[in-house]
Assembly symmetry: C2
């Protein structure tokens, strides 16, 4: 590892005042169902094109976090978001209707933590009081753009991952919220803890030379490992400092690679088993026939904004390291013989 | 205008230690020729695909600013860049080879000022000592992706703009440089002034309802006006505070709209004439048959990093407001009957 620190320590630890996750039909039938704030029963979400459906999901999430934080739109200084669609179609059309200064992000499936990183910088540095960040993906828009139109009925290889129909958003603020009551998944009423952004590690692009677009997990795993190791090195922490370390959407194969290579790098094997998992392996049940797990910006965005955020509000998770991972291939680059560049950005969250 | 301030005032006024602009053959034959740092004589730039040519241009620019600032790659905390290609192919492949933490931006042709905005935030807030920012475009990659393969020989309507084959990059730093000598365009040797980032205005998406992808200037002009007026309002400045106010790439039609609508908004007409122009109208000679002017991320990126930066180093421009403008349409959205969302981000630069 180089001497450069890749990790930003947030002096003021911005607050995540609210978060919102929304998921499609298949995702709502999976094991994470209860953690989503809203499950759509029909993936069109009442729209005439898949692109508009995805954009509406993101708009719902971004709008809800503003409302839940008790703010007006004109109290939000900026919004940062992205998606997988060419020219960020979902985000652009969402942002058109919100009238909030907009900064478009592209990091493929790493977009949620990229947006959260730069949003937290804007708030921590007092450039803005409140910022909203988010990301989305939709199975039907992604399949058409990156692979084949659904109508083709193509077979998917066992290593392929399933792009999640989901979106997530968070509102990052300089102000804390008075502790409020919150209903848990079991129906109990508990006091909510504050969730704060403690630090973030900006990832480098790592290209392991993989050229198969159906091996995304393997292509992204080296970037995830590089970012995790740099984060631990920069902060002087052991992985056991965290209650959970969650990568974005490496799927089963990618998760196994990360486990092995972290152990190879000297990280305690039992600790890895205890704290590390991957959103792509969590969002679907193996019975749901998605092969290697979930993927897409919305996979980690919805799990971080739903599962992780709610567990942190309840105090069931005190320290979390969340790492969205992206495969920066284009639809043209594989035809030109290029391998797949991977990237991963990590954010450390605290519940207090 | 809402009460929300869209403008960030940089407390520490980060320094732009170095800048680099690179342009293609046609651009090098235009009136800006002498201001580019490097002119490529063959638009392939020695590569086997147009995408690789564009990526190499951006890599040259990003690498040169690090070298000119006398830094090593591991002294650069982050790089922020983007381009017009799907999945930011030029930037991703550039970043793969540089081993610097990478944040991908997408703002269509507004990318240069978006990157400079967030890069300046990272430096001004002391999250990073040095950051590099940049953007690129290439006529041949953009035509293939957004319009028709060149081999079709399609006719272009008079309102169409010509995507510039060009790239620009800047190195933003916490440290100033000792004044150094610099050779001017006329061969004189002068002392260089420091160029600093004073403030920045994050733009909102404005959609004027235009659906014709050959009317980009008209689609983006309302966003440019909104950002300029918000900037002047937030800072309490008249437009005459600036020696130059340069929009990104509105072309002739868009520039005329901005002139008219700024005057309608009460801005002094003579002042507008004195200070305002558009990169899209400056980069080509009317004889070069580009119809409505230049466009593409590289158009404003190369002129800001070449023409504007060098004039500021010489002290010929003391205050500049640069505004890259983006049309956030996708290749799919016009087929779905959508209009074109426009965006513009402004950066105020000072020469001291």
């Amino acid at each position: 590892m180089s001497e450069r620190k890749q990790t930003i320590i947030f002096k003021n630890k911005p607050y995540i005042l609210s978060a919102y996750s929304i998921a499609g039909k298949k995702e709502s039938e999976g094991p994470m169902s209860d953690w989503f704030d809203y499950c759509i029963s029909d993936d069109t979400y009442g729209e005439s094109t898949w692109e508009k459906s995805e954009s509406k999901m993101l708009k719902t999430a971004m709008g809800e976090v503003v409302m839940r934080a008790g703010l007006n739109h004109d109290e939000v200084g900026a919004m940062l978001s992205g998606d997988l669609l060419n020219q960020l179609m979902s985000s652009s059309f969402m942002a058109r209707d919100m009238h909030i200064p907009f900064l478009g992000m592209y990091g493929a499936c790493s977009t949620m933590t990229e947006s959260l990183m730069l949003g937290s910088v804007l708030v921590d540095g007092k450039y803005s009081d409140n910022v909203i960040v988010g990301a989305s993906s939709h199975y039907c828009t992604a399949e058409r753009q990156f692979r084949m139109p659904l109508e083709h009925g193509n077979q998917r290889p066992p290593s392929a991952q399933w792009t999640a129909t989901a979106a997530g958003a968070m509102l990052v603020s300089q102000c804390s919220q008075p502790y409020t009551e919150m209903k848990t998944i079991d129906g109990d009423v508990v006091n909510c803890r504050n969730v704060r952004v403690e630090s973030g590690t900006i990832g480098k692009i790592i290209d392991a030379g993989i050229k198969d677009a159906n091996q995304m997990g393997s292509a992204m795993a080296p970037a995830a490992i590089d970012t995790i190791l740099n984060h631990l090195d920069d902060t002087g922490r052991a992985i056991s400092y965290y209650d959970v370390v969650l990568t974005g959407d490496l799927g089963f194969t990618g998760r196994d690679i990360v486990r092995d290579l972290l152990a190879d790098a000297g990280v305690n094997k039992a600790d890895i088993e205890n704290v590390y998992d991957d959103c792509g392996t969590m969002i679907y049940d193996p019975q749901q026939d998605v092969h290697n797990g979930g993927s897409g910006c919305g996979c980690s965005a919805s799990l971080f904004s739903g599962y992780v955020y709610k567990k942190m509000r309840k105090g069931e998770i005190r320290h979390a390291l969340i790492i969205s991972t992206g495969a920066l291939l284009s639809t043209i680059s594989p035809f030109q013989g290029e391998s797949i560049p991977g990237i991963a950005h990590a954010i450390s969250l605290e519940s207090e």
